[in-house]
């Protein structure tokens, strides 16, 4: 493989790393923050299931992202990923939980603007609408699940220690589901732009199984996410788990489940097809923000408890970050593209 291709792919891997550090932290943040699951267990489970989710179910959201803007040159894809990665890194430095989803969408729009390609407004509107819907759905799901679980626990009269053991196990399972959903939903952010220009070829394994070039890309992206989880997510996990709302372990579990359900909904081809088959509006397969899902879930539980315990100033700052991130990513994307084209003489589009 050409070394330049590897260098360009590095942009996606950088974005994968930041996804592992930030978004993946959302999955286990509440579990690790409440000290119910150790960081090492969380990191191992998260990495394994993110990779599985990416390879098995990552295709749906990738297609949508491709429709937003089909970046057709490797340097262009590199620029979009680096721009998204830098934007996420900047926001993380400020201490705001953001998602690569918003960054990559901003970066793709930036590429469209720079190259004069048209932005599919319908897809963009769909993506933006899901960003508003995502925290709302997560919040409402968390409220419903929390009410049900609370009633169930009180009626079952579980011993505090047994409840603790069940909650730990449930957190691990929900975390695994969350990591799978994250991999399925968000791998498009990391590797989606490289799919049309994948440098890999399909590998036929003993005529039993074809490891497609797309799956190889997703595996690579998944590994980058895993590295992000192990190297940088610990601090973010504690921030997510403790800062916005002081949560009980059961509430932490509900947040993880709600987050995972939302991400799964927006990544599942099966659910989308099923809804369509019974003449219901299908769910768009869109990469949604795991940060938005988690924050939506936490606020949902906070509202259920009267809303007094929610740190609304922090929630406000986080929302501002969500609006700012795609704009910043688009601007950084324009700058990176300009640099690549004019200083390095690289062709960023065909």
């Amino acid at each position: 493989m050409d070394i330049t291709i590897l260098i360009f792919l590095f942009g996606g891997l950088f974005l994968g790393w930041s996804l592992g550090a930030n978004d993946a932290a959302n999955v286990f943040g509440t579990a690790v923050g409440t000290r119910m699951v150790s960081f090492t267990s969380a990191a191992i489970i998260c990495s394994v299931f993110v990779i599985l989710g990416a390879i098995i179910s990552g295709a749906g959201t990738t297609e949508t992202l491709g429709k937003l803007g089909a970046i057709n040159a490797l340097p262009g894809a590199f620029a979009a990923c680096v721009a998204a990665g830098i934007s996420v890194y900047l926001m993380t430095k400020v201490g705001l939980p953001v998602s690569t989803t918003q960054a990559i969408v901003g970066a793709i729009v930036g590429w469209n603007l720079y190259t004069g390609s048209s932005t599919n407004i319908q897809v963009l509107v769909t993506i933006l609408a899901t960003w508003i819907l995502c925290p709302i759905i997560a919040g409402v799901t968390a409220m419903g699940l929390f009410t049900f679980t609370k009633r169930f626990i009180l009626n079952r009269k579980l011993h505090i220690l047994r409840l603790d053991a069940y909650t730990r196990t449930a957190l691990l399972l929900a975390g695994a589901f969350g990591a799978y959903s994250l991999g399925a939903n968000n791998i498009a952010n990391v590797m989606g732009v490289f799919v049309p220009i994948s440098p890999f070829t399909d590998i036929n394994i003993s005529n039993l199984f074809i490891f497609s070039s797309k799956e190889q890309l997703f595996l690579l992206g998944g590994l980058a996410i895993a590295v992000g989880v192990f190297t940088y997510s610990k601090k973010v996990m504690y921030t997510v788990g403790n800062d916005l709302l002081k949560m009980s372990p059961v509430a932490a579990f509900i947040v993880v489940v709600s987050h995972s359900i939302v991400l799964f909904l927006f990544a599942s081809q099966g659910i989308s097809d099923f809804l369509q088959s019974i003449n219901l509006p299908s769910i768009p397969l869109v990469p949604v923000s795991s940060s938005q899902a988690v924050v939506g879930g936490v606020i949902g539980i906070g509202l259920l408890k009267g809303g007094k315990e929610v740190q609304w100033s922090i929630a406000g700052r986080i929302s501002l970050g969500w609006v700012m991130l795609p704009i910043i990513a688009a601007i950084v994307s324009l700058i990176v593209l300009f640099v690549l084209e004019n200083i390095f003489n690289l062709q960023v589009s065909f």
Partner: protein, 220 residues
Amino acid sequence: MFGLKSASLFGDTKKLEREIDEFVDIVSEVGLVFKSIVPTYLNHSANGKFEEMVEKVKEMESKADKITKDVEHTLYEETLIPDARSDVLRLLEHIDELIGMYQGNCYHFSIQKPNFPKEFHQDLIELTETVVNCVESLCLTVRSFFRDIKSVRDNAHKVTFYEKESDIKFSSLARRIFDSELPLDQKMHLRYFVEKIDRICDQAEDIADEVQIYAIKRSV
């Protein structure tokens, strides 16, 4: 790896549940022994049995101490119930102090041998019974904290009720002692014992208040 960890988690959980139940059982049993100790002491003819009962309380207190240490170690080593761990340990320590108060009373009876005239016997026995009922209600409060959080308030209310009863009985007995013709040194000596028994109720009520706060914190 996670399967084994999970199996050990559930194993530790069951062991701890048993230990905590056993600990509360001891508190309850010490109370029942104490309820018999006072009439046994007052009945001078059965002093051998009295010392035997004091020894039994001592053994139970040592057992409770051992359980408290075991629970403390397991909770910290296995990082169980991280959100309620410090509350549970504080609770067990305070209940352990309650057992210590029972034991202290027994020792004081054994060493100082207060001379209660017959006219105060019934009042002293009734005060002791109220104190033991108060601690019994505390045991229910503690059990409900671990298993049935909704009942904590009801049981804690009973503790408060018995504590008030005990105060009334203590005041009445103390008044009767000081109104009697006994010499002042004996009056002071008897008052010391009555007051020490009544203090068990005060401690039980403090613990019940504590449990109510922990229950609010524990609310899912």
